[in-house]
């Protein structure tokens, strides 16, 4: 092991794809990865969001290219990885981050096929497509690399809005299997599990107040900020995590550590 511990966080010149990189948590990760020295290929469906994020990153001296892709279509995902290899000569890290919630609020037995299929495609199949395409390219370039998927804390508990957590649970499981299957090729696979994290800065005081109210139910007494996933992304992409694979990194302000009662529930029972 050479160099200082801080050097192990360097991403100097690493070619990194971030799906869902135009906004929200993907945007937060892209900013941090660029700051650590990565060369980025950010992908999303909405070109305008990609452009504005890329502009922000370049304004801070980062290297970034954009690729418009719908990650529920494996051909477009393959093209995205090919574009990264074309642009930077290789792919070192895939952040399979794109995803999204939603779905109808109906009784379980009324839940329609198309909504379930859609949420599985957006969150689970997209992760599979992204990691498969990246792994193939990584093996072709001689092995080594990192896959990082974004799951959700909702996957670890019961939820009425179940299709999204179900898909994200699949993402966690997929991560573990990828870690096992790809370790022989020097490819690590880990998973980020965000709790309640805001997708943007608050628009106004009203939104700030709403967030403060929601945050009151979390042990840290606030929601996470969209940029707080950045350092975790850098850690998992870099050599700082060289012996870490198959793991789920929860970033939730302590939410999943508790949950047995309201936040103000502090039993007192002394002898």
């Amino acid at each position: 092991m050479g160099g200082s511990v801080l050097e192990r966080f360097d991403l100097d010149g690493r070619a990194i794809v971030v799906t869902g990189g135009g906004r929200g948590l993907g945007r937060g990760m892209a900013h941090a990865l660029a700051e650590a020295g990565a060369r980025l290929m950010i992908a999303a469906r909405t070109q305008s969001q990609l452009d504005s994020t890329a502009e922000e990153i370049r304004a801070r001296g980062g290297t970034v290219a954009t690729f418009r892709a719908d990650v529920t279509d494996s051909k477009q995902v393959d093209a995205l990885v090919a574009a990264c290899v074309r642009e930077y000569g290789r792919i070192d890290v895939m952040f399979a981050n794109a995803g999204g919630g939603g779905g109808p609020d109906v009784d379980f037995w009324e839940y329609p096929d198309d909504a379930f299929d859609h949420l599985l495609a957006t969150n689970l199949k997209s992760t599979f497509y992204s990691c498969r395409a990246a792994a193939k390219a990584m093996v072709e370039q001689g092995g080594g690399g990192v896959l990082v998927a974004t799951a959700s804390g909702t996957a670890l508990r019961g939820n009425r809005n179940f299709a999204y957590p179900t898909a994200k649970g699949g993402v966690i499981s997929l991560t573990k299997s990828m870690a096992t299957m790809l370790a022989g090729h020097g490819i690590r696979a880990n998973c980020i599990v965000p709790g309640y994290v805001s997708q943007t800065d608050p628009k106004d005081d009203q939104e700030r107040e709403q967030r403060a109210q929601r945050g009151a139910f979390i042990p840290s007494q606030r929601l996470g900020e969209w940029w707080e996933l950045g350092p975790l992304a850098v850690f998992l992409a870099s050599e700082a995590s060289s012996y870490i694979t198959g793991e789920t990194y929860i970033i939730d302000g302590g939410g999943l550590a508790g949950g047995l009662g309201p936040i103000k529930f502090r039993p007192r029972h002394e002898w």
Partner: protein
């Protein structure tokens, strides 16, 4: 009592020891074992009103036509667990099942929890279980027979709550004691499993009736109500039945109405 249709859960001819039978969950497990056909030894943890409580359980079990005897076992002392367990095995003519149900709750901020309090919470809730496993294993091995051990702990072994650092840590220790012991004694056909209790209706020490937040905590339970003691017994029977759970060991099973599924 109607005859059970399935013989999977039959404990006929089995000899079970329930430690901490003065607690509602201990008493419920003892009753359930007896209903399933086992003879039971009831051990109170202290030689005070706990003895009166297990006498009450004794009468109920007697009324079911099972053999039942009562003991006092000071689980704070390994030697006492050893000696009392030995005596029980001799008097029952063998032992097949041990369920252990200690519960000493303390809820106090960490900075005010004294060395003595921490030691006592660990001794009462964790060391006790350790001693029980150690000497139950000794007895099962001596008999060269399979054995079942069921340790009752709390969902606080999986999650945190303010003011419960000592108690939650002890529960967490029990959770991994179950796993480690199961692996170690599995080759001797001894199975060790755990039951993790959620918010139960007798737990007024943690869900105080005058504490509004404690009442709100009940809404965190998927079933929207506290658990009852009689809802613990069947799981203990399942985990102690030779035919039902021959291949299950080292696992923790919550009886919590879905509390652990709350985000």
């Amino acid at each position: 009592m109607p005859k059970a249709k399935s013989s999977f859960f039959d404990l006929e001819g089995k000899r079970a020891l329930v430690i901490g039978a003065e607690h509602p969950h201990g008493a419920a497990i003892a009753r359930a074992y007896a209903e399933a056909g086992a003879d039971v030894a009831l051990a109170a943890l202290t030689a005070d009103e706990a003895v009166m409580r297990i006498r009450g359980v004794q009468r109920e079990v007697e009324a079911m036509g099972r053999k039942v005897s009562t003991y006092v076992m000071d689980v704070m002392l390994g030697k006492n667990v050893e000696v009392t367990m030995r005596q029980i095995v001799k008097e029952m003519g063998g032992l097949d099942i041990v369920a252990s149900c200690p519960d000493l709750f303390l809820a106090k901020p960490i900075e005010r929890t004294s060395d003595t309090e921490l030691a006592r919470v660990m001794q009462a809730n964790f060391n006790s279980q350790y001693f029980v496993v150690r000497h139950a294993v000794e007895e099962f091995r001596r008999q060269q027979q399979p054995g079942r051990i069921v340790l009752v702990t709390s969902v606080l072994g999986e999650r945190g709550l303010p003011n419960t650092t000592a108690y939650a840590a002890a529960a967490g220790a029990v959770v991994n004691l179950v796993r480690a012991a199961a692996i170690e004694v599995g080759p001797d056909r001894i199975q060790v499993n755990g039951i993790a209790l959620g918010w139960m209706d007798w737990m007024q020490d943690r869900l105080r009736p005058d504490d509004e937040e404690a009442q709100r905590a009940v809404r965190f339970i998927a079933l929207r109500r506290r658990g009852r003691a009689d809802e613990v017994g069947p799981l203990a029977v399942y985990l102690s039945s030779e035919r039902a759970t021959r291949y299950i060991t080292g696992q923790i099973f919550p009886v919590d109405g879905g509390l652990l599924q709350h985000l």
